[in-house]
Subunit: 317 residues, 2 copies
């Protein structure tokens, strides 16, 4: 982007925060609708999907595609229609100035009629040794995404909430055996899910236990487990481990402005509109039931279309 | 599919009705989650997108892709994970037998725990001469899909409701000039959209007028218009025409079973659940704000995930 354009920070109709699948799709749609749009991204266009070695469940790629290639394609497509992307530009604050939305990022201020927040979420990590090294190499944070890669293997799930138990149930259809490792001696998950998991012969529960270390050679081979009651350690051989201890939305910059749920996810209606007129949320940052690339692109298109209609009406008044 | 499998019509966990982007995505997800699924399609896997010569706004294809190739990719991908597709199998009726969902189609009965309706919708047509011939060759039923192809051209929109006026506003950003052709002398669209369109110097209204004929050579060149007051005809040269007179969901088989809105679209919650437990709706057949391939795949993934959770819980009781 040319330096002149950078200084014309008021010329935009739409600002998008976040360059993952939701933000890039929103940018493709608003740009293709001839609404001048800038996308602000703290790193490079990526999102959680970027690190995935193979994505099998984004429709359109029967042989699978790497997260990196998919995001590069999304980026190229959005740019083709004129989307301005400003990378390495972390958003510090958003605020309202009348009906304008003001965004402070990378030491500059940007303003536009509509704002789409697509800043994503981050999986919570165990903090176990080896966790970073083996992420994507046997460690996954999403059973719906990666479960199918572990057909007939022995796998572990770490956690005790709804997601952990749902992941264990999902994996019990795919894998040969599932160990559910939980730091307490009872689950927090809904009773009905608990009954199902406790009655599933393929699921074995390992209570009062935490994962201290993840070991392997290229891919995960064993977990070093520690019993929290007596501190005794043991090793468990697995082909993969699913860490299901929640995630955190990236929303610090939006605190106090748009309505969020208890976990900090932004609450929207079915058209991705937040509690503030002209601010929309799309993708993992939204309070919703499923976080996938497929649902992120749906959100991106919806938020863009809603932003477009908002701008039409707002400019008429 | 082998003949034996056809007779084992009770072995399925999930039945999907409709092989467009929503149904195929749902099938990809449920199959990949090891839930035995059959997809029933009246024709071949297609959907309204199938006829599109170039799709530019489904993320992942920077150079665009034909509807046909995209749907073939969706189909191949879903089949790879084990989805059974039964084509040329029109659904006549769905009903409940206790908690089982029963589907009558192609002279056979199918039953499963969960049912995903993804049967789509059909655009209403004008019934003008030449309409079928030039569909996709200058005639479009979706400005968000195809507007960008008409940059700096003169185009027409036919209709007088919200969609027609929104389409005209969308196109006024893209095209050089937009004619809005309406059979009455006033619009049905929301007042605020009307004001915006009436004040837009690029939009010219042609009142009390219908399109009798669409003429061209390979692509659309002129519209034969008829004034409904005095029956006088005239020709209008355009590069494209957007027909925005509504669409009808394909839901005859579901009448009286699931809750629908006034237009017949199936009402769902944010997770694609209908008013009947275990029946989900995805894609254009749903009551929603935007109908795109991007939103259809989002719906398909959501409906599949919701069906999976429904089956988990239902089988426990």
């Amino acid at each position: 982007m040319a330096e002149e354009a950078l200084n014309a920070m008021e010329g935009y109709k739409v600002i998008i925060i976040g360059g993952g699948p939701a933000g890039l799709t929103a940018g493709l749609y608003t740009s293709r609708a001839y609404l001048q749009t800038i996308l602000l991204e703290a790193m490079i266009p990526s999102g959680q999907a970027y690190m995935a070695e193979t994505i099998e469940n984004y429709p359109g790629f029967p042989d699978g595609i790497s997260g990196r290639e998919l995001i590069e394609r999304f980026t190229q497509q959005a740019k083709k229609f004129g989307l301005d992307i400003l990378q390495f530009t972390k958003v510090d604050k958003i605020e309202l100035a009348g009906e304008k939305k003001m965004v402070t990022a990378g030491g500059k201020k940007f303003s536009a009629s509509a704002l789409i927040i697509a800043s994503g979420a981050k999986w919570n990590t165990l903090g176990a040794a080896g966790e970073e090294e083996f992420t994507g190499k046997g460690i996954s944070y999403c059973a719906t995404c990666d479960g199918a890669f572990f057909k007939d293997q022995e796998v572990a799930v770490v956690g005790g909430g709804d997601t952990a138990v749902e992941d264990a149930l999902y994996l019990s259809r795919v894998a040969r055996k599932v160990f559910l490792i939980h730091r307490r001696d009872e689950l927090r998950a809904q009773k009905i899910l608990q009954s199902k998991a406790l009655g599933d012969p393929k699921i074995e529960f390992i209570w009062n236990t935490v994962v201290r270390k993840i070991k392997g050679q290229g891919v995960v081979k064993t977990l070093v487990l520690e019993n929290v009651k007596d501190s005794r350690q043991r090793e468990l051989a697995v082909g993969g481990v699913f860490i299901a201890i929640g995630q955190k939305p990236n929303v610090d910059f939006a605190s106090g402005l748009v309505e969020m749920n208890e976990q900090g996810y932004i609450i929207t209606d079915q058209n991705c509109a937040t509690s503030v007129a002209g601010i929309f949320a799309a993708g993992d940052v939204r309070s919703k039931g499923l976080r996938q690339i497929a649902t992120a692109v749906g959100d991106g298109a919806l938020a863009a279309s809603a932003a477009e209609k908002y701008i039409e009406v707002q400019e008429t008044r």
